[in-house]
């Protein structure tokens, strides 16, 4: 029971951290404070920083506990900065949020119920897909041995080299770090907390996308959240996004198939509507952070130009092609690391 309470505290804690990091970033980018947008930006900024820190630490054999407490110290500094620089904005924003019912009316209830239902479904769903043996195995084994990714998660044998296919994606290590910090079982962090985080982030993305697509009509955005839920749950094959969203919650791929693909659309709709440069900052963070969730992130290298080039063309903002190229650099980096590791050019000794 205490473990579940710690897990709930951990969930709130992680969401607060995303919010604080996002608020700080939105302030730097001079974007109006929006709670959901701050959470989304915070989420991708968080995983960008984590990926940039965790992959080198893994390859350098840094012990998990040392890394976890170092990461905690970094988060505390960021949160402190956020409180110092953003608390005034939060207070102002809170005062503005007095017309929620007028803007949403009954659709607010529909949106809340839909998110609660999804949260319930993933929280209590018995995720037993065989790939979790590897991904969750990495987290459990890292917590047990206190080393990051240096044992085969399926057998427990010490690895001679890190697996180049997986080691550049730090999502399992992220779960291991939080398991250490909260002193909870890795299965709870992976299959319960993160699945709920995914539901919340995904629905926020859909909602914000609706806001951009429907010219700030919040009722329509709420209805869009409902329809996305219905379509996802009625698109069952072993490959679809909905299947990953509801039944393969423990895998990073689930985030890539849903939150990240939807996020590209969100940034695209934002760019269509306002044509702001801060969209590119979000796009860059999206590309970088997606690497943390698995090699399938490389598919985003195809969807980003597919989403943005037509809009750039229609809006005749050709100079933005350069930004798009910059946003593709994380994919190039991953490509080099992956094939460098595969060819043995990048040293991946694990013992």
């Amino acid at each position: 029971m205490y473990e579940i309470m710690r897990a709930c505290a951990g969930l709130i804690c992680q969401l607060l951290i995303y919010f604080m990091m996002g608020s700080l970033l939105l302030r730097i980018l001079k974007v109006r404070q929006e709670n959901f947008l701050a959470l989304i930006f915070g989420f991708i900024l968080y995983f960008t920083c984590f990926e940039a820190a965790a992959v080198p630490a893994t390859l350098a054999w840094v012990p998990l506990k040392v890394f976890s407490y170092g990461w905690l110290a970094f988060l505390l500094v960021i949160c402190l900065l956020s409180v110092i620089f953003c608390s005034k904005r939060w207070a102002e924003h809170l005062k503005e949020e007095t017309h929620i019912w007028e803007e949403h009316s009954g659709m607010l209830l529909l949106g809340v119920v839909v998110v609660l239902v999804q949260g319930f479904v993933v929280f209590f769903y018995n995720d037993s897909y065989m790939d979790s043996a590897y991904y969750v195995g990495v987290t459990s084994t890292s917590v047990y041995t206190g080393q990051m990714w240096r044992q085969n998660p399926e057998t427990g044998r010490t690895l001679t080299t890190f697996p180049y296919r997986y080691v550049f994606s730090s999502y399992p290590i992220h779960n291991a770090v939080w398991s250490v910090l909260l002193n909870i079982h890795p299965l709870i962090q992976t299959k319960m907390i993160m699945s709920v985080v995914h539901v919340l982030i995904q629905n926020m993305i859909v909602y914000i996308t609706g806001i951009f697509l429907f010219d700030n009509d919040k009722k329509k955005a709420d209805l869009m959240v409902f329809f996305v839920f219905v379509i996802q749950i009625f698109s069952d094959t072993m490959y679809t996004q909905g299947t990953f969203f509801f039944t393969r919650t423990s895998e990073g791929k689930s985030f890539l198939a849903n939150a990240f693909v939807f996020m590209v659309l969100m940034f695209c709709a934002w760019f269509w509507r306002e044509g702001r440069q801060c969209v590119w900052c979000g796009m860059f963070l999206l590309a970088f952070s997606s690497m943390a969730f698995g090699g399938s992130a490389m598919t985003l290298a195809a969807v980003m130009p597919a989403a943005m080039l037509p809009v750039i063309w229609i809006k005749k903002k050709y100079a933005h092609i350069l930004y798009l190229v910059v946003c593709m650099l994380p994919f190039l980096l991953y490509f080099i690391l992956y094939y460098g590791g595969r060819a043995g050019v990048i040293p991946l000794a694990a013992s």
Binding site: G137, E154, S235, T237, L256, P310
Partner: protein
């Protein structure tokens, strides 16, 4: 994608993959219809974004020529389905449904149109059985079978080793190290999946390691090839400390005869201990004795071979 090969299907590969991805679901057609209608009648609407997506993706990652070329070089045939995630079928359909729902002026009609849209989705889609129909509710917060907790507790109770080597049944094998990473698994995931008939994995079936694992799997999973000597040798060579069999399997006599000791019964399984170190010593001693006997035997020259003096 499983069962679809680019060598076999050539330029039709993308279409076959698309068909398999949606598996009879109408959503991609509705998406296409929405894109075309939006392109023709609502030229200034935001929905043009989806048209842009469609055209660009069709020219690139869904272009049969490019796909054939790239897949033949980079070899990610099994993962190609992930490119279908990129087509914004789900958000676009939701966008179209919301737009249609808000076309009428009266709220009551709007509600009726939205409900009709939702029902249409339910009729034209495939319901997710494991969620919407036969929901798989968890047994405990760890999302593992209750039996696994009991089995792991029993193993640690009976074993003084920090990392006992275990063979679990097919179901528990998947969860064991997620729940208790102190266990060392004798059977590798690939070997288990390959033996169960998976064609998407490559395993070196001629290696000693796989042969040993196969002997164990044949007996414990598939109940074939019961041979005590081979079973004991495999247990000793793989240094198996514990293994689990479902309670309904009735080959207790065979296991006891093989030198295994029953140590715990859970609701659904029986846990056996095999002291491979002691058994190995016994075996070595037996071999030494047999060798000595052979030496003694060879010293006694048969009568007919004795030299004639």
């Amino acid at each position: 994608m499983t069962g679809v090969s680019i060598d076999e299907h050539g330029l039709t590969y993308v279409f076959i993959c698309l068909e398999k991805y949606w598996s009879g679901c109408w959503f991609p057609w509705l998406f296409l219809f929405g894109c075309v209608i939006g392109r023709i009648f609502y030229k200034k609407k935001t929905g043009r974004i989806f048209w842009g997506y469609l055209v660009t993706l069709c020219l690139t990652v869904y272009n049969p020529l490019i796909v054939n070329l790239v897949l033949s070089v980079l070899k990610f045939n099994m993962e190609y389905y992930r490119f279908f995630w990129l087509l914004p079928v789900v958000p676009a359909l939701a966008y179209y449904l919301v737009t249609i729902s808000y076309l009428p002026k009266w709220t009551g009609v709007k509600v009726i149109v939205a409900c009709t849209g939702a029902v249409l989705i339910m009729i034209l889609g495939n319901p997710m059985d494991t969620v919407a129909v036969d929901y798989k509710f968890i047994d405990n917060p760890y999302k593992v079978p209750d039996d696994l907790e009991e089995v792991c507790a029993a193993i640690h109770q009976y074993s003084s080793k920090e990392n006992p080597r275990v063979v679990l049944d097919l179901e528990l094998n998947l969860y064991a190290r997620q729940y208790d990473p102190s266990l060392r698994m004798v059977l590798s995931r690939n070997a288990v999946l390959y033996r169960s008939g998976s064609t998407s994995l490559s395993v070196d079936t001629k290696s000693d390691s796989y042969k040993r694992q196969k002997i164990l799997m044949d007996i414990l999973y598939y109940h074939v090839n019961f041979d005590i000597t081979r079973f004991r040798t495999a247990l000793m060579e793989t240094k198996t400390d514990f293994f689990v069999v479902p309670i309904e399997y009735e080959f207790n006599d065979f296991l006891v005869e093989s030198g295994c000791v029953e140590c715990e019964r859970t609701r659904e399984r029986i846990l056996y201990h095999f002291d491979w170190a002691a058994e190995l010593k016994k075996e070595e001693k037996k071999n030494e004795e047999q060798a000595e006997e052979r030496v003694v035997d060879s010293d006694v020259v048969p009568m007919e071979e004795q030299p004639v003096q």
